[in-house]
């Protein structure tokens, strides 16, 4: 080796110019791509225009018909399996993806007609003890990232951020603007069996007594302004109108004929609230839709939990809170695996998702289930009207359909949830 190293003669060749030029072009191209990643394009209203950004793998994926693939995948997994094959098939799936078959309910595998059924399995009662912390995990999975929201930007992974307004949607009332979201407001008949129990300021949510302080906190919560101007009950937002669709902007004022019953109902709520000494949602919890930021002494936090294919895929309430509205963003269905989260900027604001917005004892609370290629369908137990992963070209990013849950409990102005209460789940396809 030493003699080869010392005796081999060194020959010098002139590098062809083209190689040098190619090298320069490569360096320039990488610089341009890096700068394009950093650039943020905004529309005429100052809202960030969400674009597909990332390495070439991301653009290849973006060119695929992900939504159609997801629907075909869902169709395949809804096909009923012969009974004899089910135990073997589901045990194989459980072995490959690490599912714990001891804790599922029903445990008899022949009772699951398809893989889609098995994927949306339930757990045995008591399978998940609930910690008494203010915030508990809403699902089984892996904590991808967490932290505080700085300047309304959420960190996707180290170094990649996306706009919180893009994630949760910004309410715009000027129907003229071409990009104003087509937020159709759909009312629901009272769903929850929410009833005020007695004058000890208790509310009975699905059989469990919760003090209103536990549900809504002692202080009057506020809402960060630019993110989600909360529901302001005006006569055009009649909460008691049953499922009459309304559109912001070209407001189909369905509430006019409801006016009478709305006033009666509010008067009734207020008198009930008065009798029981319980605060009506209208009074103290009416929050401005102006630019109020988070309360003094508070901060905005975020957590991202990734559910792997083998995880239990129903999600539960992370705390005691009231869901006031939901915004359904029809988006793409990129994979949301940690591999993609590290490469595809704006992943969570490009994908189909349902932003559930409301309040808890300390102020604003939002929970956003985000779909993915194999799991494109999102179910919310108290929102029968929600349809996700439907056929058709997705509208531009940032457009959403809105529904309010104020009819679920006029007193709390939304759907009340208790910690670890099942809220819905993700389905295959």
């Amino acid at each position: 080796l030493i003699s080869a190293w010392t005796q081999t003669p060194t020959k010098w060749y002139p590098l062809p110019l083209a190689v040098g030029a190619l090298l320069l072009v490569m360096i320039q191209y990488r610089k341009k791509v890096a700068r394009a990643e950093k650039e943020v394009h905004v529309d005429h209203e100052g809202q960030e225009i969400i674009k597909l950004k990332g390495p070439w793998q991301v653009h290849v994926l973006g060119a695929l018909p992900l939504r159609n693939m997801s629907r075909v995948w869902g169709y395949m997994n809804s096909v009923e399996l012969p009974i004899w094959i089910r135990p073997y098939g589901f045990r194989l799936y459980a072995y490959v993806f690490g599912c714990n078959l001891e804790e599922i309910e029903p445990s008899d595998l022949t009772q699951y007609a398809s893989l889609g059924d098995f994927f949306y399995r339930k757990l045995k009662a008591g399978a998940r003890p609930v910690d008494n912390a203010v915030i508990v995990s809403p699902a089984d999975g892996t904590v991808l990232h967490f932290g505080t929201v700085e300047n309304l930007r959420v960190e996707q992974v180290k170094g990649i951020t996306y706009s919180l307004d893009a994630l949760l949607g910004v309410e715009r009332f000027d129907p003229g603007s071409p990009t104003s979201p087509t937020s159709t407001v759909v009312e629901f008949p009272p769903a929850g069996d929410m009833s005020v129990v007695n004058d000890r300021e208790f509310a009975n949510v699905n059989g469990i007594e919760y003090s209103l302080d536990q549900l809504l906190g002692a202080s009057t919560p506020s809402t960060p302004g630019s993110m989600t101007p909360t529901l302001e009950r005006s006569n055009s937002d009649s909460d008691i109108a049953s499922d009459i669709p309304k559109k912001h902007g070209a407001q189909i004022d369905a509430s006019v004929e409801q006016e009478g019953s709305l006033q009666e109902t509010l008067a009734h709520d207020a008198s009930v609230a008065q009798e029981m000494g319980v605060r009506p949602a209208l009074g103290e919890h009416k929050r401005s839709t102006s630019g109020t930021s988070v309360k003094e002494g508070n901060a905005l936090y975020f957590t991202v939990i990734y559910l792997a294919p083998g995880d239990y895929h129903r999600f539960h309430s992370p705390t005691a809170w009231v869901v006031e509205k939901r915004r359904h963003f029809v988006g793409e269905l990129f994979s949301v695996s940690p591999y993609m989260a590290k490469r595809l900027q704006n992943l969570f604001v490009l994908n189909e998702r349902v932003a559930l917005l409301g309040r808890w004892r300390y102020g604003f609370f939002g929970m956003v289930p985000v779909g993915a290629t194999n799991v494109g369908s999102i179910k919310v137990n108290f929102d029968a009207a929600l349809r996700t992963n439907v056929r058709g070209r997705p509208p531009p990013p940032g457009t959403y359909t809105e529904a309010v849950y104020s009819a679920a409990s006029p007193l709390l102005n939304g759907q009340p949830l208790t910690p670890a209460q099942e809220m819905g789940g993700f389905c295959l396809g």
Partner: protein, 32 residues
């Protein structure tokens, strides 16, 4: 699939998890 939580809490709120940690429904995520 993924779930993103965004919430307002007092500055004394602290997370009780680490990035990459496996969690199950009901596990403590953080407390004030």
């Amino acid at each position: 699939s993924t779930i993103v939580l965004v919430f307002e809490a007092p500055k004394s709120f602290e997370f009780a998890v680490k990035a990459g940690q496996k969690v199950k429904v009901g596990n403590r995520l953080g407390d004030v």
